[in-house]
Symmetry: C2
Subunit: 356 residues, 2 copies
DNA sequence: CCAGTGTATCGAATCGATTCGATTAGTCGC
DNA sequence: GCGACTAATCGAATCGATTCGATACACTGG
């Protein structure tokens, strides 16, 4: 019925109601007193014209606020929904933001070509999840735009609030636990080292070129305890990738179990650890009798059968909430602060002394 | 160093470069040819002034496009991240939207007071996930604004593309499977009936007042096979809520196992089914020997021990992708189309004939 | 040498609201 | 009856871009 004409504007409504646009505007924003009779006349006019309230684009241009907080995720957006740690963080984040924000805008950090979405998104503030190597570019864009920003687990410039985790200490801690069980042939199974997500053995060259802080920190903690241990990187924090990478640690090129295979695997995520356990089962190795596997994150990992994973738990929801709280502070004019979190060792059933 | 002055605008850049604002604008949008020398002069001016590109708010006011697609989730935002079916859908959705959209805006359907966020979000189109009773209000708001909209599993007005699932048929199918195993005392464990998420036995009155289509459809399918069976609603699709509701089915007020307890429970989601299994184990009932439990969704349910759940799998990722594709169509001017999906029965190890 | 063609740049209108200072109307006290 | 004061409403500037028709200029071919 009204699809032919262009949509009504507040000026149309004002004219219909016989008031000025400023008065009509005020009826909708409610920031100034309006006589009841006037308000009703304006509302009636709006209803008659099918006016659905102020255009958010125009309003945000004028006010300089959109009510949207952007959250920049590494790599594919879809990845975010598959990673339990990320979803937990988002959970906390949306909780903390619920009262001050219209919504959360999910942004990719940067698709190869094109300009970064973050450069053209109408957001009031940004949360950067710093697990990707491309985060630096995104951070630069955001700073250029002068937006408040909080970085979760990533290197930030000075003056930028960060949400951090004791990745290195926690990794060293669980590595130490493994050593105290008596393991000496230990390997680590890491998260990707860079945005390229190349799979393969860890070499000094690859470490030097690495861009993912989380991976490096956890690796550094591990190396404190096992300086010379071997390691492989997985292509992503997924069970399947964990399986693939684990096979590289356990079997030869011809598919036979290696004699010098590790007796313990320290994985950098629970999903990778689950992958390691699956791979071990496929090779007829029992966990933990023949192979110890420990993880990182403390998610409720799926697919372990009845085994409880030995791991360190991180407060993922709290991290997200803290980020949201700092964004809220900054949006209200205060300075954002950095917040540090620590992990908790959680004993499970996937670690045991090595077979004698 | 530049925090005192207001941010540079494209007019400032144009002046600095000695060109008109139209030319400067065109340098950034790239829609018209610009001489190389001019382009470089403008870019240099922009760099000198710290201009980070066009303000998205102003640009979207002028062009009428923000590049953002809104997705309305029922209830708390955080809930979305905890529900595997929802995350799977978002996965497919973000995949389909990746090429045409800057980002995905997560919106709540409506916080009790206040105006709905959906009324003031600068989105180009909306995807409504219709599992909440409040979706109707959100749909009305969106239609008022004249935005393209796709509804996933919810009742939509005519002319609105829907993504649907054969909830009723699939439910009837798995109920029939249970009946053919020989069960006669069967109960159903349902999703919430309305936004209030009231827990408790299913009564005709509550059904009449229900607003969640998915719940009603699956219940209707179940009732085709077991017209008189008892049922309880859970407060949410969560393992814990499944446990709580299941206890109501299995034990008396004084905590003793009921003699007339069901020999099979048909749950409306896998998470609820897992809850049912947990509750059964707590009561020393074996699954499936003492109690058959079947689910719905086909997620990789966590916490089952080594048991594989008998369930019907729905193509959640495909649903999301279809929604995204329809949004893309509508944004490019074409008409959106409805898409229908069907579930697949998946045999597991949690269903067996009743104990004789 | 001029009409004709094409390319690069410019001017000015426009998108749809918000907001602040100014104006008007109405009330109160004395 | 009048000045002072308050509350409601209005006018006009403004937010920062985009875009289209007009203009200026250089070059080609006859």
């Amino acid at each position: 019925m009204s699809s032919t004409a262009r949509r009504a504007t507040i000026a149309d409504v004002a004219r219909e109601a016989g008031v000025s646009t400023s008065t009509a505007s005020v009826v909708f924003s409610g920031k100034v007193n309006v006589a009841d009779a006037t308000r009703e006349r304006v509302l009636a006019a709006a209803a008659a014209l099918g006016y659905a309230g102020p255009d958010p684009r125009a309003a945000s241009l004028r006010t300089g606020r959109s009510g949207i907080v952007g959250i920049v995720l590494g790599g594919e957006l879809r990845h975010a929904f598959l990673d339990p740690v990320t979803t937990a963080m988002m959970d906390g984040l949306s909780d903390a933001l619920a009262s001050i924000s219209t919504g959360i805008l999910l942004l990719r950090d940067d698709p190869e070509g094109e300009q970064a979405p973050i450069a053209e998104a109408p957001v009031d503030a940004v949360v950067l999840i710093g697990c990707s190597g491309r985060t630096r570019a995104a951070l630069e864009t955001v700073r250029q735009r002068g937006l408040p920003v909080v970085v979760i687990e990533g290197e930030a410039g000075k003056g930028i609030p960060q949400i951090t985790l004791d990745n290195r200490e926690a990794s060293a801690g669980i590595a130490r636990y493994v050593r105290e069980l008596g393991h000496t042939r230990v390997a680590t199974l890491t998260l990707p080292l860079d945005a390229g997500r190349e799979v393969g053995p860890i070499t000094p060259e690859r470490i030097a070129a690495a861009t993912v802080d989380v991976t490096l920190d956890r690796l550094a903690g591990f190396r404190e305890v096992f300086p010379d241990a071997a390691g492989v990187t997985a292509a992503a924090s997924l069970v399947d990738e964990g399986m693939i990478a684990t096979r590289a640690l356990l079997v030869d090129a011809d598919g036979a179990l290696r004699a010098d295979r590790p007796t313990a695997i320290v994985a950098q995520s629970d999903l990778l650890a689950v992958g390691a356990i699956r791979a071990a089962e496929e090779l007829d190795l029992r966990v933990p009798e023949d192979l110890t596997v420990v993880g990182f994150d403390g998610i409720n990992a799926d697919g372990l059968g009845s085994l409880k994973l030995t791991t360190v738990a991180q407060p993922a929801v709290a991290k997200g909430r803290a980020a949201g709280e700092q964004v809220a502070r900054m949006l209200s004019g205060a300075d954002g602060q950095s917040v540090h979190f620590t992990c908790t060792f959680r004993e499970g059933e996937t670690a045991a002394p090595p077979a004698s």
